[in-house]
Assembly symmetry: C2
Homo-oligomer: 514 residues x 2
Amino acid sequence: MDVEEFREFGKASVDYIADYIENIRKKPVLPSVEPGYLKNEIPELAPITGEPWQNILPDVDRVILPGLTHWHSPHFHAYFPTANSFPGVVGELFSSGLGCISTDWQSNPACVELEVRMMDWLAKMLGLPEHFLNESEGPGGGVIQNAASESTLVGLLSGKQKTVKQVLEMNPHLTDAEVKAKLVTYTSKESNSSVEKASLLASVPMRLLPTDADCRLRADLLQEAIDKDKAEGLIPCCVVASLGTTGTCGFDDLEDIGRICEKEKIWLHVDAAYAGAALVCPEYRYLLKGIHFVDSFNFNPHKWFLTNSDCSAMWFKNTKDAEAAFKVKASIPTEPLFEPEIENWQIPTSRKFRALKLWFVMRLYGVQGIQKYIRHQVSLAKYLEKLVKADDRFELLVSRLGVVGFRLKGNDYMTQKLLDKITERKNLYIMPYYFQNKLMVRFVVCSRLTEKEDIDFAWNEIKSIVADTYFRDSNPELKNKKRESNLNSTILSKVATSTFSPELNEKLKVGLFL
Amino acid sequence: MDVEEFREFGKASVDYIADYIENIRKKPVLPSVEPGYLKNEIPELAPITGEPWQNILPDVDRVILPGLTHWHSPHFHAYFPTANSFPGVVGELFSSGLGCISTDWQSNPACVELEVRMMDWLAKMLGLPEHFLNESEGPGGGVIQNAASESTLVGLLSGKQKTVKQVLEMNPHLTDAEVKAKLVTYTSKESNSSVEKASLLASVPMRLLPTDADCRLRADLLQEAIDKDKAEGLIPCCVVASLGTTGTCGFDDLEDIGRICEKEKIWLHVDAAYAGAALVCPEYRYLLKGIHFVDSFNFNPHKWFLTNSDCSAMWFKNTKDAEAAFKVKASIPTEPLFEPEIENWQIPTSRKFRALKLWFVMRLYGVQGIQKYIRHQVSLAKYLEKLVKADDRFELLVSRLGVVGFRLKGNDYMTQKLLDKITERKNLYIMPYYFQNKLMVRFVVCSRLTEKEDIDFAWNEIKSIVADTYFRDSNPELKNKKRESNLNSTILSKVATSTFSPELNEKLKVGLFL
């Protein structure tokens, strides 16, 4: 493909994407393909000779679109938002078109320095403390990671390394392996499944502690667990707190938890993957109370901050702790030409030019544009909350930021049938969640394109299902029946055969993580 | 930004990228900025109100390009290739424009199924054994990871989990922690720094074993190390072999090493990040001798296979081992709607639609197009080899695939001055490496745009430096002098103050990893 063909193919693709987004509201959000559909559409071998680019777009139409779940449909209310904005798309295009990556400063000054600057722009926009800034005097700083799961792993490994160092300094008779074998970490049962996964990868056992009625990690239970572990000779090492839990967008109290971590010398990592974006609006910054206790903090601009995947922002109070865990040490200490050396705070050794996307997004939206976007999305959730409350067949369980949890009154059977029918009809994509021992419809305002008319569409769809035979049937035997096994929905079929339980939420949480 | 502005901005950006690539040969490959240059060019805060997109392109010109190392300049010969092709760029544009990601099959059938199919296309193109195919009957399969460092970590963690399980089955009186504390892994001193880093992250100590004259891990020393460790009560767990080491593109003998791994029940992971792409040409498949011993195999299409970052391909002989390490287990086993469940073979829980890039690249180039590309790049390295051999001031140390290592005869002083001057002039980007206790110029054919004229350009640049005062000076005192500290080069300043040593190579290898 020569450069002139690239101009044609690239521009045709820009138009294809523009058309796709313009018409996305008309398509059912869920595809109708059967598992294995693609095998018959694509040959078993790559072609021997190259094809013309004109072959590609019709095949995207023919093979890809029918099997695509439209994550940016205004009727997509599952998981959490996944960012997709026009400035973000063009930022990604530039990043891959220039094709430059970086390791240290020498390898690519613009890549490294723009990332350093953008992470400071971002920290200031969110009202994060000054000690997190790259430009601050101290050892704090921020860097772009690949995903929240990676950020949590980086946080845990940093805390692990710091704890081992501290314990060995105080107890020089112990070995590294002896200390590592005694480490233990903590999080709440409501935290994302990636948190538990990170503890597996980091080889540090994790206690999943119960939460209060608002899905918050209970400080009293945390202290109790720490005391018990210490009494048994174990070494508490890290706590992962959540700002915006996956199921119900609960907010751990950073001040109560942080005070314990400070006293016990435990690393405190905060996972604010989704909800962190809301901090761009000053009215949500009360959530940051206690942030001065936090050692590492992560939120994903690629979730609710209009910046296309992948872009996960992470800050450290003291980057030297991360460096100690991640820097492959050369025997010869050298003076860096540029600081901070952000390449030492991550798992891979090289980094893409992801800062370009952030730069484009923050400039083309501006602070006010992003605030307006967040507030608009929250207002749509509030609008749905009002509709739910006004209908006495439903009960509202939770409404925080863009997450609204509600259910049909009575036992879980009716709500499960509702969820099943929603998925079967394919006009909405919504997931279930168990909260306070009840099955709920977990509705999230996800797409940048969602408007009031789409909330009305969703609510009318839900009401029309409720008005359907299943729900008009007043047979008490049916209404009191437990879950059935003949559910058609692809989503619910995974959870249909069991009664609700904490274990089921674990399973749902696995599906819910992004 | 509305959709019409996106069409304009997107197309202007396609043209910008096309122009950039068309004119890249004219620019010095290395930038001339001073550390910290960008701070003065970009304000301290994000703008309050959004800017028009027309502001962006002039700022890319003004702020980014002057600080950019041009990784796709035909005069870039550092590190390894980083893929950048027009089909790859458009593939990335589509991936971010559709903006769809996936977790399990239900979340996005097209994303999951295309990846499953593309990994099979790729495996067949490289001549990998059938048991690695997703479509094979057995438990093997392939998946796209983020980077080679991540793939190595996934390999080590899979091997770790398998070994622990095996040992606990044989020794039920031991605890999980007791087994983990005894694990040990092996690789060669020439393997990439990311391999050692992965062992740090996976909490398994790693022995860095010496290599033979061809940079190959010595099977006899591996067996010796294993025997010694076992005698001390340790448990050998993984070996990481390299096809194409970072410094000199050395190839470990998979058959000799694999035989030991099989006998000792040790997980064998192969890092073929760069050189794996050459397997598309049948003449290099002899390197796969012994591949049937391999448990996990990784190469990066985002290096030498024309697919833009990120795209790291990884195959498993038995994916159940990876699943055991990575799948967060729900208490309720459910029947998957689609297999393989590739989302369980990775660290993050969600995945981008990276398979689109591979699909575009393999279709638009075709098998023959990619073979032609690889053979052309190797022929350029062979051409340089010929030029070096024909000049009796130089000695050739190594030439494998696109990597050519050479030096000025005599002590290291002259070669170091040469490297220093190359970097100072900024017309070429080449890195140093120590091989057989000698400093060498490590020249790699990196850019897709490199042609014979660029090799001539590079060789003329090198000869003109050699002809310069430093090298015409016949003062023996100068020629015998050890390294000086007043080197100007940004690259060499990092290594200038020490004598050559294995430790120095460690440092260089850190810089060399992508």
